[in-house]
Symmetry: C3
Subunit: 429 residues, 3 copies
Amino acid sequence: MSIELRKRLFDQLDQLVLIDPHTHINALDPSSHTLADILGYHYYTELSHSAGMSKERIEEEGISGKEKVGRLIENFGPITNTIQYSWFIEMAQKLLDFDGDSVDANNWEKLYDTAEAKMSAGNWTETVFEKSRLESVFLTNDFDDPLEGFDTSKYIPCLRTDDLVFHLTNPRTKVRLFEATNTEITNVASARIAIGKLFDHFTSKGAKACAISLPPCFAPVQVSDARAETALASVLSKGSSADEADQRAVSNFIFWTLAENCRTFKLPFDLMIGVNRKVFPAGVYQGQDLYDSRVSLIQYKDLLNAFPDVTFPISVLASVTNQELVSYSWIFPNVVANGHWWYSNTPTYIQQDCAARLEAIPRTKQIGYYSDMYKMEFALPKFAMYKRILAKVLAENFVIDRNWSEESAIELGTQLLRGNVETIFNVGK
Amino acid sequence: MSIELRKRLFDQLDQLVLIDPHTHINALDPSSHTLADILGYHYYTELSHSAGMSKERIEEEGISGKEKVGRLIENFGPITNTIQYSWFIEMAQKLLDFDGDSVDANNWEKLYDTAEAKMSAGNWTETVFEKSRLESVFLTNDFDDPLEGFDTSKYIPCLRTDDLVFHLTNPRTKVRLFEATNTEITNVASARIAIGKLFDHFTSKGAKACAISLPPCFAPVQVSDARAETALASVLSKGSSADEADQRAVSNFIFWTLAENCRTFKLPFDLMIGVNRKVFPAGVYQGQDLYDSRVSLIQYKDLLNAFPDVTFPISVLASVTNQELVSYSWIFPNVVANGHWWYSNTPTYIQQDCAARLEAIPRTKQIGYYSDMYKMEFALPKFAMYKRILAKVLAENFVIDRNWSEESAIELGTQLLRGNVETIFNVGK
Amino acid sequence: MSIELRKRLFDQLDQLVLIDPHTHINALDPSSHTLADILGYHYYTELSHSAGMSKERIEEEGISGKEKVGRLIENFGPITNTIQYSWFIEMAQKLLDFDGDSVDANNWEKLYDTAEAKMSAGNWTETVFEKSRLESVFLTNDFDDPLEGFDTSKYIPCLRTDDLVFHLTNPRTKVRLFEATNTEITNVASARIAIGKLFDHFTSKGAKACAISLPPCFAPVQVSDARAETALASVLSKGSSADEADQRAVSNFIFWTLAENCRTFKLPFDLMIGVNRKVFPAGVYQGQDLYDSRVSLIQYKDLLNAFPDVTFPISVLASVTNQELVSYSWIFPNVVANGHWWYSNTPTYIQQDCAARLEAIPRTKQIGYYSDMYKMEFALPKFAMYKRILAKVLAENFVIDRNWSEESAIELGTQLLRGNVETIFNVGK
């Protein structure tokens, strides 16, 4: 009974047209040209590397896309169990008319050619949007992105701020900031002006969120202007050789200034909490980051109290932090539970985390899912995975365990998938 | 098959007459007078606040109970998914003959009036006890509670000690202690005398437990009398401006003294581990506390070893600590796993935590559930939630996965729900 | 449907002949002589102790095996719910032709006598291997084990190194090391020579792994030879009264040297992370250890990067660390997820942890299970427990949720149970 029920709920949820509230899509080149764009995604290169393929073979310069895809697929044997592999297969079936259920040395070349032919169609991006039932996607824009040359109602800008908070020690960041704002950062006042200009620019281009990813050790506090002044002077002159305490004070000052601008410009501030960068420096591109799961939202206590009128959609990297996310969203009006991020974006953790959220966080304060994708073709299989799990949780924990009607369950699922994205980010209505 | 099985097990477990081993019931006013008493429960006010209702509107002084209930229910839309909402509906159905399955602007007023009529009956409290199949409830008494005017075999006293351990910096605590014991605390010796008198008083009134809630950073150690002497002098003279180290030493001294008295008076010492108070000071009444899930039972190593003859029923606030609770209960004879507390009192976490306990802790060392309620009407829906989950775990993990008979499964469930409360707290036999 | 499916998958997996990649079997006395050997296992004595039986009664010197078994079983009432009890019953049913489903004061004596008769047969060990469908087992050998008198292809040596890393402060360790290697440790150079000789000896006897258990606070770093020299001098002269920093430096130096030898000798290095020893010193033999679940694999970052060509099969003690194990195995080519250890070796945690691994770690990098047993009779019920859970996960998460064929699911299960043990440890092929 539960399996048919799950299917019925999934089929309903699968009809919805969605807005993807967090991706890394390049608005000027949103979809793939060949399977090399697909399999260049770090999920495939890092798993292949982990399973024994050398980095040199995966990332050899100068090889053709076809050569790269062939190498990867011929070594796919060890990762056929992974959910990431299943994304690839489902994508191929639904978008590329692939009729197999596995891909290997024998059949990849035909798939490659078919893909290349389909992807070269002028309307390929449109086809992907349509088949994926997507209306628009949020971007992840560098702070100095001109945001030009695309439809910002379909590719919705989002100001990504990691560089500002954590890499002002890099002289290049200062240069980029000057080029973007025509303001040279020399002190607290000019830093505030420059950051304000970024928000002006982004919101004038229709940006709907500010976002940042944060290491587990980060615990934002407000620093006085005087302290910010000396710390900033140290960091601007000494770069990465500045005192750690100064670097931390600058990060805090910039971070706090971003939150102030989110308040002024009424932008939600997406916090993606928990990543340690370059834990495995010999890893493939984008396959080097991991985490320390010993992190707590208590580290954000001051921030959440200081900005009651800023909405913080929070993603946590490890499922062990999910219960804190549930509890903080249940208590703090300005905290929203946001999607299932990266290492927690696999079915077992999604199911546990989704179920815990659905039963204890107000239904208006949960964003079901975002794809985090770099190429448009991944929305379909990733959202399909999520919708199956959501349907399972709604079926088992609501319809069966709590006697909900199927209609009510679908309404709840719809709100997580679409409604809350509209209301929280003020889009698509 | 599993669903019918779960139902059969639930129906059996639901027949049991229970003792609720932890509540915040006021023995002099145990049940509600109107729905305002029900919806004044922090679970509703804090969720409504989190979902966007202003604190001013929720807690406006001088409004009638009916006005307050109307305001809350008319804003219930965003929390209809929560398990807390379902408690309210089930309570209304089972205790107030409500025949709907949702409550909103259109039907709340009639429900309010019905409730007021029923609750004004002289035997309402008795009716609630009976319909809830409750025999007695444990209280949470301030240390200076006279414990008079009620039947202490039905409303079982429990000495709550947070104020003594953590708020001796508050001059008022010292005054209250003097008033309760006629002993002025001036040094270690008089502190011991005063605390001994509290235990005398409580046990003479039938108290069956001592209890305390503890922050995640607390790690009790025994301090020498000499150290306690100087620390106590500092805290008694300087209050909250005393050195943190002195405050901590006093907390440790008092805590250790409580454990010594639990040994002398043969009282279990309920430890409720993990809460940070006032994390969200702008929150509604009782809706301000949260936690840092980075806590370990290793912090209690010295205590557990020092008091082998004191039973410690332990509750943990976050489900990530549950496995430690399972393991420590499996190894330490004096550790008992106690209920599903607060932020872990939602179905997904209860199910995972309950299943893990049932398969690895001796069956005699697990207290299934307590309601933690402030008003008697909540025992029914909260215990019903737990019993459904317990029935599910027994059905799936024991009858199906391990081929247990239904009779054996019910025996195990009965022991968790009733038997162990009797043996561990020495009540109701 | 799912239950029949699970059974079909289990039946297939149950046919496999396995190699147990981690046990504490004594190759010179591998199986039990009476039930006292079985119930002397710490799982039974510690649960009985936890449930109220005194240590004196459990461990009284001079009592017969039969007396000991009688005492334990007559007190089994409180632990009949535990999975450990179910191991005993299944073992008795499958190996001893016991036809009951519980054991108590009324029937234990007959079972004891039957067991003794069966176990006294000359081919009992062979019978157990056969009925358990085991081909060989890994041992846990002290570094000074002569490894003589047994078939090392059936009882595969494994160099256990806790004493070297953590107990060089004990003068006895130094003596044992000298006796084993004819090398007196006086400095860094001689320590390297002695350790190299241990690896020579072990690999010449067919050792297939090096192993160690580690406390939660351990975070290995490379120390310079100069630092190692002073630290070693301090520890060798002062023993356990040496500075903690020196002790830590020596632990790091020895640990790093072990990893270097694993590289040289191409041995996997089993890391069993997270145990605190003697947390409950008054506990029964082997029933005193617990843990602090606040541990992270980030502590092993330097090690994993420094030894890309050493395979690290990692076990974690607490399920809250499992997601890190999944993620680190998914990223680092040299990390393998290894079994379900000790306090995480119970069905609820195995199911959650196994499911998370299966969907995100390359299938070649997961060792399904090891028994950790001290006597051969436990392989059967422990592996049976694991295979039932594995069959459940494969049925529900792969065949049902992901439309896998049963054949593919069985292939995956087979790889976890047998194939990966062969490839990772280079045995049994």
